[in-house]
Subunit: 138 residues, 2 copies
């Protein structure tokens, strides 16, 4: 298999596949003409990586997960711990974004959104808050 086929079948861009080789996540063989030559196992690894990345694991976490996957004597507890740590990071991000969403939603609701220049959103950003009985939201 050439990189184009692998790209199609894995759903990963060729650029990404080359990048994953660069950083040592996969090690495809080479044909005589210098083309990368992938076997099913490579495709399988790439699919694994694609799914792990889609779940938001960083590249380094993916590297660890792959190592665990290939280690027949792994402890599932190690995998679970990695997943739990990642889960906590995701939850933190969600909370941060939700806080932003709340503040923005309030600001948007307070803004007339017409042709007049008076704008509570800008006022808030400028530090002269305009919101009705709103506590400080750091």
């Amino acid at each position: 298999m050439n990189i184009g086929d692998v790209s199609t079948r894995s759903g990963l861009p060729a650029k990404t596949i080359r990048y994953y080789e660069d950083i040592g996540l996969i090690k495809p063989h080479r044909s005589e003409n210098g083309y990368r030559c992938f076997v099913e196992a490579d495709l399988h690894k790439l699919a694994f990586l694609g799914r792990a990345r889609a779940l938001g694991f960083t590249i380094e976490e993916c590297r660890l997960l792959m190592a665990l996957y290939e280690d027949e004597s792994r402890a599932s507890g190690d995998v679970k711990q990695l997943a739990l740590e990642h889960l906590r990071k995701i939850e933190t991000k969600i909370a941060d974004l939700q806080a932003m969403r709340e503040t923005l939603t309030e600001l948007v609701q307070c803004c007339a959104g017409d042709n007049r220049p008076d704008c509570p959103i800008l006022k808030d950003l400028a530090g002269q808050t305009d919101l009705p009985e709103q506590g400080v939201k750091a």
Copy 2:
């Protein structure tokens, strides 16, 4: 004011303030010795930027917001539109992260997390899903 004072008062690192000057968000004067010399208006702008960034606006969005802020004849509708677009992006991100969280939570719940190698998390990543009556989650 030197950069250190502005950094303290705005809460932004000096590095960030220099960066904001580099990309043209602020234009502090210079003292004879070459030091940046900030006035209250600069501090005010930096605080504005800090708040907008904390709400997740990109630098380019901040640039637009600042321009609107300084434009006395702006229409609040323009600001509101910018905020609404940003709000939608935030909501998309939240939804993506929530999907990750759900999948990860399920996987974590299915994993014994002990010393045995059998691990539903790895199985799922490898494409051989193991979850009880679970539809495909792309």
